[in-house]
Amino acid sequence: MELTVNWYLALSAILFSIGVMGVLFRSNAIVILLSVELMLNAVNVSIIALAQMMADSTGHILVFFVLAVAAAEAAIGLSLVIALFRTKPTVDVNEFNLLKH
């Protein structure tokens, strides 16, 4: 069986969905961060597969930008979790509910 680009796109869609579910349904702040990273990297799979299919280097360059951005977001996200933890010693996001309608 040959691996066509559609297999990569399907894998990427599944990984992305897992990431989305993680952000929406998990309440652990660290797991939410992991899920966000999973979403970004799932997209990277798509981009690389498509760039390879079209033999176009632009997509590969885009992936490097995405990696850099994901790293910056992870740094900010983790530091926010640490700051949250200092105000209240938990990483359960349901415990943080000061701002409401």
Partner: protein
Amino acid sequence: MDLSQAYDAMLGDLAGAFPLVLLAVAGLVIVVWDAFRNNDPLLPYIAGGALAIGLVFEGSQLASEQTTLFYGNIRAGGFAAFINMVLLGGTLLSVVLSVPYLRQIKHAYGEVYALMLFATVGMMALATGNSLIMLFVGLETMSVCLYILVGLVRKDEGSIESAFKYFVLGAFATGFFLYGIALLYGATGTVYLHEMQSGFAQSGATTMFWAGVGLLLVGFFFKVSAVPFHMWTPDAYQGAPTTLTGYMSTTSKAAAFTALILVLYYALPPERWTTVLAVVAVLTMVAGNVLALAQDNVKRMLAYSSIAHGGYILVGLAAGTAAGYSGALYYLLIYSIMNIGAFGVIALLEWDGKIGREQTMESLSGIGTQRPFLGLAMAVFMFSLIGFPPFGGFFGKVAVFGPAIDAGLTWLAVIGLLASVASAGYYLRVVYVFSFKSADERPAEAPATGTGFNVPFSSLAVLSLCVVLLVVVGFIPGLRDVTTHYFIDMAVAAGTL
């Protein structure tokens, strides 16, 4: 693409992207300076100077030909100069308002100004980007800086909570945005906006293209806080330092809307968008205004009001004509002035030590009699936000609702007008509380009548400038034409009008 002269070409293009480079360098200077002389009071002056120079430069480019720089990655001149002026001007006003405010809440950090400059660089890249890579990098540069600015008061539980919520939903939206970029790239084989339509026609990958467009739009709707993707907005705006709320609610929205306009105008086939945008616009206007009516906290009320204003701008976009797009740009300019002014006034009236997130409307009773200037300025901002003539907001609304009627969307414009009338309910309540309630009705823990609420000269100057601009902006001859001709002329040149 011939790359043998790439280095020379890029060096030559640096001059065209001068404000972008200048702000980035000034931001780095502030970071290094701050490392040696922590929180030096000189730092805001560096930021302000760089912004002012950038503003003057873009002003000189306003009439020039539109071009692209760095091998078609970023726009300069004309249209780009206009939106850059909105972004630089908004940031400059916010920097001046932030200096006394941050001192008042005892968070006068030097790096705030570096982050504001970096965020503005991101906004400019987002608003003038001509390739999907540039849009993504600009969007993220902006967002990452704003996450930090929202959580600036990190000892305060509410502030850090709002920053975390903003971060999670912002990063979530980034995922959708990026997935949209990936699929569009796959369907068209290019990342350049102006090549997308021909690329799509060549490849014919219909499913992937429309899926990509849908995901990209979801990402954009998150960033411009359109309903139903608005949940983060009130929390983020309520917990952020007030002058920075004014900053992020205006400039970041202006940048994201401009990028959305460019994508709609250049990259996507013209049909099919009106219905989607019109439905989102209706939801945004109705939900924003209804939820704002129920708020008792002024910051939260203004957050919902800014959602509603996003809806008005979407009306212009839904029209889908050159006039609608240019009306939206014009609205962004006016909206920036009035919202920065309104948050600037609120910032001066804070006393709860929790960056105003627990102050009710009643805590502002009688400010108008105690500080007549603030009462007057707030009244002007509120009337302008309603869209009351002769203030700027009125002309902005004409500029977005008019093209919608011309495009056959009369029902949408009618809903917009009804929403504006409903919005008078909460805006006028602010005016009423400011001017007609007695200061005795303030909560017991408020500062005693006749004390507190110093108005520094710099804030006074900025607020006066906003008031004057709002009064005269509708009457400046040619200002409306400036935004129109960017789109109308291009449409004529392309033979679509």
